[in-house]
């Protein structure tokens, strides 16, 4: 399934860092509201 485009000569570290930030925001917001939910059960 991996595309055969040649390894682009530009580094992709920025993309990796950025999508990691996206994942962190999703996890943190969810965990925060989940904690509030559990505190109020």
């Amino acid at each position: 399934m991996y595309s055969n485009t040649k390894k682009s000569k530009y580094s992709m570290s920025g993309t990796i860092a950025s999508v990691t930030i996206v994942a962190l925001v999703i996890i943190l917001m969810w965990a925060g509201v989940f904690a509030i939910y559990m505190a109020r059960v």
Binding site: G14, V25, W30, V33
Partner: protein, 559 residues
């Protein structure tokens, strides 16, 4: 057929001329309506924010819920719909080298129907006959003319949608074996989704009108509510799809890059169209009469809509990093600094995309089944949609204005107007961050939405919300300033900016990209898959609500 041959001949001559002049007039008409509505709706938003914080009281004869109904209808139904259609028609005209004359007629019919519909609906609201908010949940019953206005509005949208479908089929017949230009593909996605989404609310309104006129005694509250939310969330995803068309295809050109792998872009569009409608019950997670399993199915469907957005996140960062690196950006975020932050055509959609990170994450929180009990009907939800619609969609729309309106008006985007745009974008961003941020926090501590100024007889919990409400009002003030600047910029670029030519910034694919597969063009198939997915999620609950329905409710006017 003579018409088709004629267009074929002109194909190569004007292919780069962009939007056909007659289509430009249509798009500019839509934008005029759009930004006039934004001015009124924005002003109402500030009035709401001030009233809610107890800083302003409405004159006699008017109440908060009238303002809220008008603010909702004008911005969420009129401003967004008219801008969407104006922008999509410009894209279609650009992609197809001009719309067909008969399609233009259908679009003008659409404009007239929509304007009449809006005038009818808003008049009823102003007269106090329709303070039912833009969700108009039965048994709340507004004046019948309000609902007739909504019918005309939907007919106006259908008239345009069918025009688009006809023009699309014509282009496909004229160019057998050729994939449509990507912007036209997005437009098809928008109008296919819009048509199928509107079926829900159309059935609902056709249930309501005889009930409000008294021909039918009672109405099924659960069915009408479910039919509304069949339409509700998908409506917001239609503008999101419009915004992503600018993110994927316009922004890469402005940063000097190429657009992402077209097959994957088309996959994102198809996924958004097919998966969208069955998320509806995430607005009804804490309703009675819907079983836990059906609710959980809709939670799954709502989370599945996040997948195309996660693909978009990757694609946009990939494209932006590549463009930034090409301009010499070094290190982890060097590319980020190299992006054209001074160009409003980039700045506005970029902030819009960044805002969708907390916006989308908030949506994932809202739809997580019982966690919805923490936030349902609180100011958190208001904060959520002011981030997702108020920033992610609206700032993208504002950013589009700065190249599309000069282009359509055969004028130039001057450095001064670009500066005005940059200032407006920052004012908007700060205003929304303040307002939507405090709304999120107020919601978590219980501040209910859609409730006018009250301290519940001085109850300490209610008093604890007041500081947040002052912050709403501050943010709302900044936002009205932003609205005024944007409306000034739009009409300046439409009528007063110097004559000239503005580029229609459509990004090209990468060099080594394979040809786009034709199976992506099978809209008949996507419509069937869409209906199958909707049937999976809605047939059982709706049949259950009809078969096991309680005696219905009569029309009630509690205002």
């Amino acid at each position: 057929m003579e018409q088709a041959k004629h267009i074929g001949l002109r194909e190569n001559v004007i292919s780069k001329l962009g939007v056909n002049p007659q289509d430009a007039i249509i798009a500019l008409t839509y934008f005029t309506i759009s930004f006039a509505t934004l001015l009124i709706g924005g002003l109402l938003g500030l009035i709401q924010g001030l009233e809610r914080a107890g800083l302003y009281s409405l004159p006699a004869g008017f109440n908060y819920y009238q303002v809220l109904s008008a603010h909702g209808l004008l911005l969420l139904v009129v401003f967004t719909a008219t801008f969407t259609i104006g922008y999509q028609l410009a894209n279609l005209s650009h992609s197809f080298n001009g719309l067909l004359p008969k399609v233009r007629k259908m679009i003008w019919v659409g404009i007239v129907l929509k304007v009449i519909g809006v005038v009818l609906a808003v008049t009823m609201i102003v007269l106090g006959e329709a303070s039912v908010l833009y969700t108009f949940y039965p048994p709340l019953a507004a004046h019948p003319i309000f609902y007739i206005g909504l019918v005309l509005l939907v007919l106006g949208i259908w008239s345009v949608a069918f025009g688009v479908f006809i023009n699309y089929r014509h282009w496909r017949k004229e160019n057998p074996g050729q994939p449509t230009p990507i912007l036209a593909f997005f437009a098809m996605g928008v109008f296919v989704l819009w048509f199928f989404a509107s079926l829900g609310v159309t059935i609902e309104v056709f249930m309501i009108i005889p009930w409000v006129l008294g021909w039918v005694e009672t109405i099924n509250v659960m069915v009408t509510r479910t039919l509304f939310w069949w339409f509700g969330h998908t409506l917001v995803n239609i503008w999101y799809l419009v915004a992503t068309s600018a993110w994927y295809i316009i922004v890469p050109k402005i940063v000097g890059g190429k657009h992402f792998n077209e097959k994957l872009i088309r996959l994102v569009v198809i996924l958004l169209v097919v998966l969208n409608i069955p998320g509806g019950f995430h607005h009804q997670i804490i309703d009675p009469a819907i079983s836990l399993s059906i609710k959980f199915l809709h939670v799954f469907m709502s989370l599945s809509i996040a997948v195309p957005s996660l693909m978009t996140a990757f694609a946009m960062f990939y494209v932006l990093e590549k463009a930034g690196r090409k301009k010499g950006g070094k290190g982890l975020f060097g590319w980020f600094k190299k992006l054209p932050w001074g160009d409003v055509r980039f700045l506005a959609p970029m902030i819009a995309m960044i805002a969708f990170i907390p916006g989308g994450a908030g949506g994932i929180v809202n739809t997580s089944n019982q966690m919805n009990q923490v936030v349902h009907n609180t100011m958190w939800v208001v904060g959520h949609f002011h981030v997702t619609v108020g920033v992610s969609v609206v700032l993208t729309f504002f950013g589009i204005c700065y190249w599309l309106i000069p282009h359509l008006s055969k004028r130039q985007l001057t450095a001064k107007m670009n500066k005005v745009g940059v200032i407006q974008t920052w004012i908007w961003t700060i205003g929304m961050t303040i307002m939507a941020g405090s709304m999120h926090l107020a919601g978590l501590v219980g501040d209910p939405r859609r409730t006018s100024d009250t301290t519940y007889a001085g109850h300490e919990t209610a008093l604890s919300w007041l500081p947040y409400e002052y912050v709403f009002a501050t943010g709302a003030t900044l936002l009205l300033i932003g609205v005024i600047i944007q409306v000034y910029a739009v009409f300046n670029m439409m009528f007063f900016a110097p004559k000239g030519k503005t580029e229609y910034p459509v990004a090209e694919p990468e060099d080594d990209q394979p040809k786009v597969p034709m199976w992506t063009e099978r809209w008949g198939l996507w419509a069937i898959v869409l209906l199958a997915v909707v049937a999976m999620a809605y047939v059982i609950p709706i049949v259950d609500m009809i078969v096991n329905a309680p005696p219905g409710s009569p029309p009630i006017k509690t205002w």
